[in-house]
Amino acid sequence: MTNKFISVKNNEPVPVKTIPELTYKEFTDICTSLVKDKIHCHIVNYFGYRENNNIKLICCIADDQEQSINVLSTNVETDASYPSLTIDVPAFDKFEREVYENFGVKFEGHPWLKPVRYPFNRANKQQTIENYPFLKGSSEELHEVGVGPIHAGVIEPGHFRFICHGEQILHLEIQLGYQHRGVEQLMLQKQSLNERITIAESIAGDSAVEHATAFAQLWESLCNIETDKSTAFGRSLAQEIERIAIHTGDMSAICTDIAYQLGSAVFGRLRTPMVNFFQEWCGNRLCKGLIRVGGFNYPFTEALGKRFLEILTIYERDFEEMATQLFKLPSALGRLERTGVVENDQIYQIGAVGMAARMSNLKRDIRMSHPYANYKNMNHQPVVKRHGDVYSRTQIRKEEIRQSIGYIRNWINNIPEFKKVDASNYTAQADTFVISLTEGWRGEVCHCAITDNKGMLKVYKIKDPSFHNWKALELAVRNNEISDFPICNKSFNLSYCGHDL
């Protein structure tokens, strides 16, 4: 079986021709055997691109035990039909839908072959976002509730269609695509590194660090740029600060949705010192403009380190006081516990990643399984909870904040000398495939690239953790009251723009 797929490491470039090309039948058999009933394996990416009038499909399946990613490929024709993989492995669902939408390839037996995001270059222009085929409830006892695309709060657009029995949600279907702005196409169109890193930073503004890091690492491996420990230090540090900032903001949002005003205000204001520190470091509250190919732009000085330790001490005191209170308030716990449950088996079936997996006892964390930057030199143990409810998701945030504070304190003790490599003198290797994974606060971010015979980008594929995890929200709200939808939604805090690209 060894010549049926190739095993690569995170950020390890390989010649495209070394990826075995199988018949479709063989391809599906191997894909299924690599991932089915293997708790330590999941699909990190599965995508297609045009080659010689056909569509080449590439599937990347991560094996957490081996710390490797198994890659294999096949060729299919547009507008033809092929047996669906989703029937055996439900986690293929979204990926097959994407291939269907982009190229018109049909997957026989796929239970839910619907558009994903209505990209501008989709195969069938007759399909428009206004006529998405929602599931209909046909009984007189059921009613439907439609929400969006424009929501009540200041948030991104997406449409939620509920089928309810009284107050109880029986089914939720989430239709996205409103945020589609052609990110992947633009990555190929724009040639300079400054343009590309700016795009990477704006894939999801709240995850600027992970997406920028994924792109930077990918490009460094394509060009064989050696970065030193200062780069690893800066990027890991930025990532953990971002994790603290967003998790704190999410805890504020959760308090808002259970009408706990004090928690909402206190966690809300506790986010400010974290994002303001980003501004002190790099001039931007969301850490845009910091991470660059070859290193990062603004040195992290001893003075900044000292300053941040002071900020952390005050933050920690106030955070612990508020968190302790929140977790012992019966009125708050009553709203969090057993609300929006997703069972471990469901989470595994849909191939959820990041926090959404860990809340239901599925230990998935790229920092542990495919480590990069500073995580290579440490034994990161992810925070895992068992219940799969809003309570577990809130607990994970609280404990991950503590964990990040511990890591940061440790790293700041030993700030490496700042060094940045000038990346403009390097060119990418020709005919090469590379995959880059990072673990953001939301979950794993995956960027894949393939270069042509001149070393120019031919394919650029981005996958935000939300691509897997929106399904988890759909499942979480089933049988809950519709009034609990906001709290379920906030407890996942998924990205619309990261999904729509």
Binding site: Y118, F120, P149, I150, A152, G153, V154, I155, E156, P157, G177, Y178, Q179, H180, R181, G182, Q185, L186, Q189, S192, N194, E195, I197, T198, I199, S202, I203, A204, G205, D206, A208, A265, V266, G268, R269, R271, T272, V275, N276, F277, Q279, E280, W281, C282, G283, N284, R285, L286, K288, G289, N297, Y298, D318, E321, M322, Q325, S495, Y496, C497, D500
Partner: protein, 252 residues
Amino acid sequence: MLENIKILWHNGKQYIPDVTTAKVPGIFKGRPVIASNIKVDEDKLTALCPVKAIGLNPVSIDLGKCVFCGECALAFPQKIRFTTDYKIATNVRERLIVKEGDENPVTLDQSIIRKEIKQLFSGSFKLRQVSAAGDNSCEWELNASNNVQFDISRFGIDFVASPRHADGILITGPISANMAEPLERCYNATPDPKVIILAGTDAISGGIYADSPALERSFLEKYPIDLYIPGNPAHPLTIINGIVDLIRKKKG
């Protein structure tokens, strides 16, 4: 109860007393200043910019296009520096273009603000926010504008759930083809007289997405824009000062 009061007491006063004069920490990238007496390699300078915001003869930066990455200031620190002046919102698109030698602040042209805006909205101004293919960073800062520190509500400015309750719409993001119709419908559902505000570089010019085939920006050509708030994302203080300058009657 006692525990809650204790927390309240420990947190103390969090609000920024005067948001028009507050100082921002660190190396905030606000209004740039371009030195006119320094010559640089202009080809290299313009090639650096990911969004073609830098113009020549004279050297200028269009804040409506700028993503505030700071690459130009890092490469040519003698020529370009970003100040911490966050008051960069204006109602005249041309005023966002900062030229060589300009040291003056960016301001609104009060003489062209429609009379009804000051008359009706100066004490209470409700906005419906429409996110149209942005990256969630401006939405993030809009929410921050309403936290206990920045507290935009103190000026009677609020974000409301329905366009029918709103006095105007605030758009973020470069406006995707998929969002074009919902945006138009939202605007039509807002009662007259109404205001349009663009927040963030993406909304003002399309930003890094300006040439993307997935956008549909014709809405902006059809209707007058009352305020441009630049930034990537716009800072809460830029947002608050911009909107307040638009609606507030001048004292005295």
